[in-house]
């Protein structure tokens, strides 16, 4: 088996295990608390409105916004790590059909694996810091995935005789 195929399949399996482990940790220790916080803060907003207590409604509402912001990203991180891992494994299995030389295929495989790790990691960092740095990491990761996928699609679409 070529190095690029092995990198994608073993990297994909490792990423899938990591993504599943992260999801399991989140489901057991954080998800229920997050969902309770979202539901309770939204209900508290409406309760405070019913009492015409605008300050309390505002506070409850800010809690709702923050809890939902974090929850959405946590679910996205888990889903994207596992989804990208499956894509890595499937591509790894069929990677010998990509009509490029092994060196170029290895570069594409590294770019895809790096992007698949970095992109959800950047999204995860957004839950700690709302500044531009985590967003830049997520953008860098997704750009790596997109460029690598574009290259691999081209390599699969080209006839095998154009291998270079």
């Amino acid at each position: 088996m070529s190095g690029s195929r092995r990198l994608l399949i073993l990297g994909g399996i490792a990423l899938a295990l990591w993504g599943m482990g992260y999801g399991l940790w989140y489901a057991v220790f954080a998800e229920h608390q997050a969902l309770n916080a979202i539901g309770a803060s939204l209900a508290a907003t409406f309760d405070a409105e019913a009492e015409r207590n605008l300050a309390a409604a505002d506070t409850a509402f800010r809690h709702y916004g923050e809890a939902k912001y974090i929850y959405d990203r946590q679910v996205d991180v888990h889903g994207h790590w596992i989804g990208l891992a499956m894509l890595l494994i499937v591509l790894g299995i069929g990677f010998d059909r990509v009509a490029f030389a092994e060196r170029r295929k290895l570069a594409l495989a590294w770019a895809l694996l790096a992007g698949a790790v970095i992109f959800p990691f950047g999204v995860l960092l957004e839950t700690f810091d709302h500044g531009p740095f985590p967003r830049a990491i997520a953008i860098l990761g997704s750009a790596l995935v997109i460029v690598a996928l574009g290259g691999i699609t081209l390599g699969l679409a080209l006839p095998a005789s154009s291998r270079r």
Partner: protein, 360 residues
């Protein structure tokens, strides 16, 4: 050269036929859910939220609480249906993936068979249990907050996890995925036109899905999050100033925002999932015992349906039921093409068993 086994009740046969069956049932369930439950449920959630907002306007706290309990129940109903659909399909994908990787696993065929049965049992138990959560609730449950349906769903998840870890252990024992000397795998050698169409088409769909996801993250995600906050804040201010028409306006805007978010995320998820399915099916074309022209036709139909569904889902907000109907037709095309390939594989197993003298 020795061929990789596809014998009766072999692990690969169980995972391929069982995996595609799981995807088929999951998709059929998703189509039925989309037509008969999804939109009606969304309307009821919207109505309950409106009742809560108007109750807040009247200062009626108990009605606010009742309405939020209704919203919770409706969301549980919707959430468990979506989970059933997603888990069944994803377990199907995982089964197909494991079926391809099996030759690299250093386990005995008997162990692989036991793991395949364990996987399929869990893959059926989890979505079945999740589907029943909303109906069974806590009836006869020995636990305070977890019902029997959840217990069986968790048991199913555990079985899938054990089986998957078992297969991975076998891969780990095979010393870095070395090719087995003296064996060849028809699935990896196949270079048919239908396989190529599915592989390239599938990857192009995944690529398009990523581009759409990047566009959504760059243009819509933060705008949606800020709108979500500002609409709810407006609703709170309108309630405090007893302005019923402003509350209604905020509710309408909130409904539209949720709809916009839902269709964009659904389109992104579906085109990537369908792309991945097409890529997985590309590897099994060697097992589809149909004429090449028909294999090609089913591959094209699968690709057309896979593109039609997400594109029409995206247009649902603008074109309403027409786009929704076309999206359902797209889903149906994928199901029909997948069923045809599944029948083709069944035919192949029949031919193989007859050749080996196993026909009854």
């Amino acid at each position: 050269m020795r061929e990789i086994s596809f014998a009766p009740l072999s692990a690969r046969r169980l995972l391929v036929l069982g995996g595609i069956a799981l995807i088929l049932i999951g998709m059929l369930f998703g189509d039925i859910f989309a037509v008969f439950v999804l939109h009606q449920n969304a309307s009821r959630v919207g109505a309950s939220l409106a009742t809560a907002a108007h109750a807040a306007l009247r200062g009626d706290r108990s009605q606010v609480d009742t309405s939020f309990q209704d919203v919770g129940s409706l969301l549980e109903n919707r959430g468990t249906k979506v989970d059933t659909h997603v888990h069944m399909i994803d377990f199907g994908y995982l089964a197909l993936l494991l079926a391809i990787l099996l030759p690299w696993s250093a386990l005995r065929e008997g162990t692989k068979q036991h793991l395949a049965w364990l996987f399929l049992t869990g893959a059926g138990l989890l979505p079945g249990g999740v589907f029943l959560i909303h109906y069974v609730g806590l009836a006869y449950s020995p636990l305070q907050s977890i019902g029997w349906a959840s217990i069986f769903a968790d048991l199913g998840g555990l079985l899938v996890l054990i089986a998957t870890l078992g297969f991975l252990l076998g891969l780990g024992k095979s010393l870095g995925l070395q090719d087995l000397p003296g064996t060849q795998d028809a699935l990896l050698l196949d270079r048919s036109a239908s396989g190529r169409i599915l592989l390239v088409g599938g990857l192009a769909m995944v690529f398009a899905g990523f581009l759409h996801g990047a566009y959504y993250a760059g243009v819509d995600l933060y705008r949606h999050e800020s709108l979500d906050s500002s609409i709810l804040a407006d609703m709170a201010k309108a309630t405090a100033s007893d302005d019923a028409s402003a509350v209604d306006h905020s509710l309408e805007a909130y409904g539209q925002l949720q709809g916009d978010k839902a269709v964009k995320i659904a389109a992104h998820a579906h085109i990537i999932e369908f792309g991945l399915l097409a890529m997985l099916l590309a590897f099994f074309q060697a097992y589809v015992a149909l004429r090449d022209t028909w294999k090609l036709r089913w591959a094209y139909i699968l690709i057309i349906g896979s593109v039609l569904l997400p594109v029409c889902v995206l247009m649902e907000l603008r074109y309403g039921l027409v786009a929704g109907g076309l999206a359902d037709i797209g889903g149906l095309l994928v199901i029909i093409a997948l069923l045809a390939m599944w029948i083709g594989i069944l035919r192949y197993t029949g031919q193989l068993d007859a050749q080996n003298g196993d026909a009854r």
